[in-house]
Each structure stands twice: as structure tokens, then as C-alpha cells.
């Protein structure tokens, strides 16, 4: 019998999140004797490269595809082609739209991830939350779905009306000083933070799309000596991010589990190739929730969290 071959298609392979996802998949594939080929877009949002990757996998005779889609709706047709060709398609990290376009989904609930840090932030400020000055450091002007879900989740958790939940930037709450985009890296995080500080130097709460942009925002605050007056919250739970929580750079972060997503995905493809079994979703949800945990050393009443020691034992990169 031929070795089972599988494909992993991520949004990019420059984001440590996907790098770790790939490492998890490779480790599991080696363990199960599956041949894994991985593909990635050039930048977040690079949809055509993902389409080409799916076509390549079909041409290559793969048994299944694991995909973190850049455009969750647009990819559906290509996914359908793959499924028609007999491949098992599993969405990782980002559910497709509609979610049942994939055979299964192993993902973090990104809205929930945002909501957790939002609740924590509100709890941390206490009564002062009513006068908070919030900077929102988002990903990109194209507003990919993770970007919107985490941002709107945070605001919801904080107790701010989000307006249209499908986009950020249409809120009217005066506590929001502004939104700026970071490209998800340190450089962008610093510049966005500086821009918002120039607008209002008294910002005291900073939401960031991910931990690299949080680190950049911190540098901007540090350069004007306000790093101790401002709380930064973020999402991801990578090891440098958790270390930053421990060092007080980030107040709290929502941790997700990409290695687990990947490992589960590879197992599912192996099972499908061996006996045609499809994985089942989590009870009561339409996807398999790989879970999200809030990591902080300053727990807040009413919000479940783990400390950085535990966060470090679970972190991914």
C-alpha cells in the first residue's frame, strides 16, 4: 500500500503560529507514517496561492488537506473540488463559511478568545472601566475574519457596543481612542501605538491582535515612560508571549493550541485513509473546539484563567 499523503495549507508560514502548526503536523505525520507536504500563502489574505495549493494537492494524489483559509468564503469552491476528488478536507484554526464546507474543523473560538481578554480587561480596570481610554491594534485594513472576531470579541467582553459585528471601526463608544493596523508584527505594533498616543497620550488600555504587535506597542509606551500605566492584552499564547505576560509586558493573553489542531488533523486524515472515518465535532458545537485559555498572573474575579507557569507548560513556540 502506498504511504498516505496529506497536505497542510496555512495562511502564511512566517507567523510563528503557523510555523508551530506545521511542526506539530510534521511530528504527528512522521509518527503515523504519513507523507506531509506543506503550502502557505505569501501574506495573510493571499487567497490565490491557497487555491493553487489545493489544485496541486489534487494533482499530487493526496488523501486529505488541512487548511487554515485566508478567505473563508471564497475558498469553499476549491475545497468542494477537492472533496469531489475524494479528499478529506479539514479546516484548521479558521472555520470556513459555511462551516460545513469542510469535513471537519479543528479551531480556536476566536471570538471567545477576544471576549476573555475583554472581560479580564474590564475586571482589571474595575470602576475605572467606565473612563477607560482604549487603543485597538488590529491586523490589517482588509479585516480578515480572525481580526474582526477577536476585536469584536474583546469589545463585547469589555462591555462596549460593537455596532456591526462583521467589521471593526464602526463603534461609537468614546472610550475607544482609535483603531490602527499592525500587520501583526512588532514594527507595526510600535507605529500604530505611537499614532494613537499622539492622538491621546492618556491611553490606558491596549488591545492587540497578537503578541508580536503587543511587544511593539510596549516599546512605544516605554519610550515615553508610560509602560507601567497602561495595560496590554493580546491573543495567541506563544511562548514569547507568555514570557511577556510573566515579565509584565502583557497583562493577559488568550492562549490557543495550534499543535493540537495540527496533530488532530493529521490523525483524522490517517483514519480517513485507513477506514473512511470522519472526525466528530465537539458536543454542542459545529466544530471541534481545541480550546482557549486566558493566561495571566493577575487573575480577575469571574474570569477563568491560568497562571504563566501553567501557560508556559502549554505554550507553543
Amino acid at each position: 500500500q502506498d504511504a498516505v499523503s496529506a497536505c497542510l495549507i496555512t495562511k502564511t508560514d512566517t507567523n510563528p503560529f503557523f510555523v508551530k502548526m506545521k511542526e506539530g503536523a510534521e511530528a504527528k505525520a512522521a509518527e503515523l507514517g504519513v507523507t506531509l507536504k506543506s503550502f502557505a500563502g505569501k501574506i495573510d489574505g493571499d487567497h490565490e496561492t491557497q487555491v493553487a495549493a489545493i489544485e496541486t494537492c489534487i494533482a499530487d494524489g493526496a488523501k486529505g488537506i488541512l487548511i487554515a483559509a485566508s478567505d473563508t468564503s471564497a475558498i469553499v469552491q476549491s475545497v468542494q473540488k477537492a472533496r469531489d476528488a475524494g479528499l478529506l478536507v479539514i479546516a484548521l484554526d479558521t472555520p470556513l463559511n459555511p462551516i460545513d464546507a469542510a469535513d471537519a474543523t479543528f479551531a480556536t473560538d476566536n471570538f471567545l478568545a477576544g471576549e476573555l481578554i475583554g472581560k479580564w480587561a474590564a475586571g482589571k480596570l474595575g470602576a475605572e472601566a467606565a473612563n477607560a481610554k482604549i487603543a485597538m491594534l488590529d491586523l490589517a485594513v482588509s479585516q480578515p475574519s480572525v481580526d474582526v472576531l477577536r476585536d469584536q470579541g474583546f469589545l463585547t467582553g469589555f462591555g462596549i457596543d460593537v455596532g456591526d459585528a462583521n467589521k471593526w471601526g464602526d463603534e461609537s463608544d468614546p472610550r475607544i481612542v482609535g483603531h490602527d493596523v499592525t500587520a501583526g508584527n512588532e514594527e507595526g505594533g510600535r507605529k500604530a501605538m505611537e499614532n494613537l498616543l499622539a492622538k491621546d497620550p492618556m491611553i490606558n488600555m491596549v488591545y492587540t491582535i497578537n503578541e508580536p504587535s503587543a511587544a511593539g506597542a510596549y516599546e512605544a509606551l516605554k519610550s515615553i515612560g508610560r509602560e507601567n500605566d497602561v495595560t496590554i492584552v493580546s491573543v495567541d499564547g506563544g511562548c514569547p508571549g507568555v514570557a511577556n505576560v510573566k515579565d509584565g509586558v502583557i497583562g493577559a493573553t488568550s492562549q490557543q493550541y495550534p499543535l493540537q489542531m495540527a496533530a488532530l488533523g493529521v490523525e483524522a486524515i490517517k483514519a480517513w485513509a485507513d477506514n473512511g472515518a470522519k472526525p466528530a465535532p465537539t458536543e454542542g458545537k459545529d466544530f471541534f473546539d481545541t480550546g482557549v485559555k486566558l493566561v495571566t498572573d493577575q487573575p480577575v474575579e469571574g474570569v477563568d484563567s491560568i497562571d504563566t507557569a501553567e501557560g508556559e507548560s502549554l505554550c507553543w513556540g
Partner: protein, 352 residues
């Protein structure tokens, strides 16, 4: 009679024969001549060589009609945009806004159909008009206000892309919906097969536009003027070319072609997605340059760009099938782009 004519008296009885030298007519010299008169031959040779190399490495997996026609499908969009880019680069310009025009046009086609409820044909026409109009603005700023093409199209890129995001609300229109309500939008995604080889209408459009533009550039006055403007704009203007009109028409046509690419894009990805096409500018320029068109204008052929786009397509698919992971693929494609052009240069040199 002046003394000048003293010298001129020597002219009486001069020979009226045209200069002629013996020409060796060897195979080599004929090959050399062919390479000189058809600049697109060199990228074609590089293309064939790379197909052969990957064929040997990958065997039937690569040499299947499925894989080979897949390459055509995968390069069709960049290739169509590349024809627009070629026109612009032949005038010594550059168009960074091609990808943004493409995606904005496709979003307009989709949103006008689904949000405004226009008949798909009308919505498509609107998309084409908008694309042409943006191109026209580019051309007008470049030709009339004499702004550098790089800056104008850089600015337009940002403007069109932001407009696209703002207008679409970052929403994708799903393939299923389009299929049911406005299949015309997916027209270029339809395909037919000839003995296992699958051709989409998008691919046919790509090949068609390459052939049409190759004809127009070579065999019409407009085409010669495009070359003249790129070659030396002052000389072109002095020798009677309406350089402004040519520039404006080139950019407007580029916009129109990009709008068509937007329509083809809907066919390829099924849906209307505002995040597509972000790297179309750099990829189309790459195809143009690998195809041997000079970035300084006036030299090269659109057929060369066609082969250039295919070379990149062959490398990408071949490397992916070989199982190189994404970063290694980028690294190798980087090296191969340089190598392809080096081979091109070398062939030209030995054949000079």
C-alpha cells in the same frame, strides 16, 4: 562654382552598387538570426528546458495533461494582468495598481449584482467601465500632469484597494450564491476538455488577449507608437506621435484588461473576494521582465511575457510537486528567476 564642388567632381562615374558581403549561411548563423529577429524565442527556450527538467524529475505526475493545463489555469490571471503590464512597461511606465484595479472591478461586478440588484451583464459592464476609468485617470495624470508612473500608480493602488475594502465591507460573495443567481459572473470559470487537457474560458481569454495584443503591437500604427513612446518620448513627439494620447490610451486599456482579469478571477475562485490579487503587481512585473521586456521601455514582445508567466508557473508547480516546502520554494523560485534571466542573457550573448 565653389571649391566644395571640386571634391564633388570625384563623384562622376561613381559606382551605384549596393554594399554586399558574402554571408555564410550555416545552421548556426540561421539560428542566431532567428534569435535576433524574435526576442520571444529566448524565453521560449528557457520555458521548454524547464518543462523538460521537471518532466524528467517528476515523470508522469508532471507530464500529465492535467498538470500541464493546470499550469495554464494557474498563470491565466497573472498572465492577463501581465499583458496590461506589458503595454505599460513598453511605454517605459509601470503600473502598480493592476491588482487593485482587478479586485475592485470584480467586487463591483459582484456587489452591483447582489447589493444593487442589477442584471449581471450590466454589473459586469459597470466593472469594466470602472476599471477603464481608473486606468484613464492614471494615464491622464501621467501624460497631462507629467507625474511619474511609479507614484501615480502607487497612489492609485492604495486608493483602489482601500475603496475596495471600504465598499465591499470586506465581505466575500460566496460561490454557491453566484452560481445560483448570477452564473454569468463565473463565465470564465467554465471549462471544456480536449483529450484530458482541461481549458477554462479564462485560459482561452488569456491566450486570446496575448495573440490580439501581439498583432496590435506589431501590425498597427498604434502599436508602433507604443514602442516609439517607450523608446524615446522626445523623439516620438518630435516625429509626430501624439505621445499624450498614446499614454492615456495605454493606461486606460490596461485598466480595461485588469477589469477583465477581475471577471476571470471570479470564474477562477468562484466567489468575489476583496482580499484577492494583492501580489498581482509584483508577479505581473516579474512575468514581463522574465519575458524579456525592458523596464526602460520600447523593447520586447508580449509573447515573451506569455512565456515568462509560464516559466514562473512551471517552476512553482514543479517545485511544489517535488515537495519543497513553502519557504524553500520561495528561495528556489528566487534563484530560478535569476537563473532564467541569466540563461536568457547567455543565449543572447553567444548568439550575438
Amino acid at each position: 562654382m565653389t571649391n566644395q564642388t571640386e571634391a564633388d567632381r570625384g563623384l562622376l562615374g561613381q559606382s551605384e552598387a549596393v554594399a554586399s558581403f558574402e554571408h555564410e549561411n550555416t545552421l548556426l548563423s540561421r539560428v542566431q538570426h532567428a534569435l535576433h529577429s524574435n526576442p520571444a524565442l529566448v524565453p521560449l527556450i528557457v520555458l521548454v528546458a524547464s518543462v523538460l527538467v521537471f518532466g524528467v524529475l517528476l515523470g508522469g505526475k508532471f507530464f500529465s495533461s492535467f498538470a500541464l493545463t493546470l499550469i495554464l489555469q494557474q498563470v491565466a490571471i497573472v498572465g492577463i494582468v501581465g499583458t496590461a503590464q506589458s503595454l505599460v512597461i513598453l511605454t517605459a511606465g509601470i503600473d502598480l495598481s493592476v491588482g487593485a484595479i482587478m479586485v475592485l472591478s470584480s467586487v463591483i461586478m459582484g456587489q452591483f449584482t447582489f447589493k444593487l440588484g442589477l442584471p449581471p451583464a450590466v454589473a459586469i459592464a459597470c466593472g469594466l467601465v470602472v476599471g477603464t476609468f481608473i486606468g484613464f485617470i492614471n494615464g491622464w495624470l501621467i501624460a497631462r500632469i507629467k507625474l511619474p508612473p511609479f507614484i501615480v500608480t502607487l497612489g492609485m493602488w492604495q486608493i483602489a484597494l482601500a475603496t475596495n475594502f471600504l465598499y465591499s465591507g470586506n465581505e466575500t460573495i460566496r460561490a454557491q450564491e453566484i452560481e445560483v443567481n448570477a452564473p454569468l459572473l463565473q463565465f470564465f470559470g467554465q471549462s471544456f476538455s480536449v483529450g484530458g487537457a482541461v481549458f477554462t474560458y479564462g485560459v482561452i481569454f488569456f491566450i486570446g488577449i496575448v495573440l490580439i495584443l501581439a498583432y496590435v503591437l506589431r501590425h498597427t500604427a498604434w502599436g508602433r507608437h507604443v514602442y516609439a513612446v517607450g523608446d524615446d518620448p522626445d523623439a516620438a513627439a518630435l516625429s509626430g506621435v501624439n505621445t499624450k494620447r498614446i499614454l492615456i490610451s495605454v493606461y486606460a486599456l490596461s485598466g480595461l484588461i485588469c477589469a477583465f482579469a477581475g471577471w476571470v478571477l471570479i470564474g477562477r475562485i468562484g466567489s468575489v473576494s476583496p482580499t484577492s490579487g494583492q501580489s498581482a503587481n509584483i508577479e505581473s512585473i516579474t512575468a514581463v521582465v522574465i519575458g524579456g521586456i525592458s523596464l526602460f521601455g520600447g523593447r520586447g514582445s508580449i509573447l515573451g511575457m506569455f512565456f515568462g508567466a509560464l516559466i514562473v508557473g512551471v517552476f512553482s508547480l514543479g517545485l511544489r510537486l517535488l515537495g519543497a516546502d513553502a519557504q524553500w520554494t520561495y528561495l528556489l523560485i528566487g534563484a530560478l528567476i535569476i537563473a532564467a534571466v541569466a540563461v536568457d542573457q547567455w543565449i543572447r550573448k553567444v548568439s550575438a
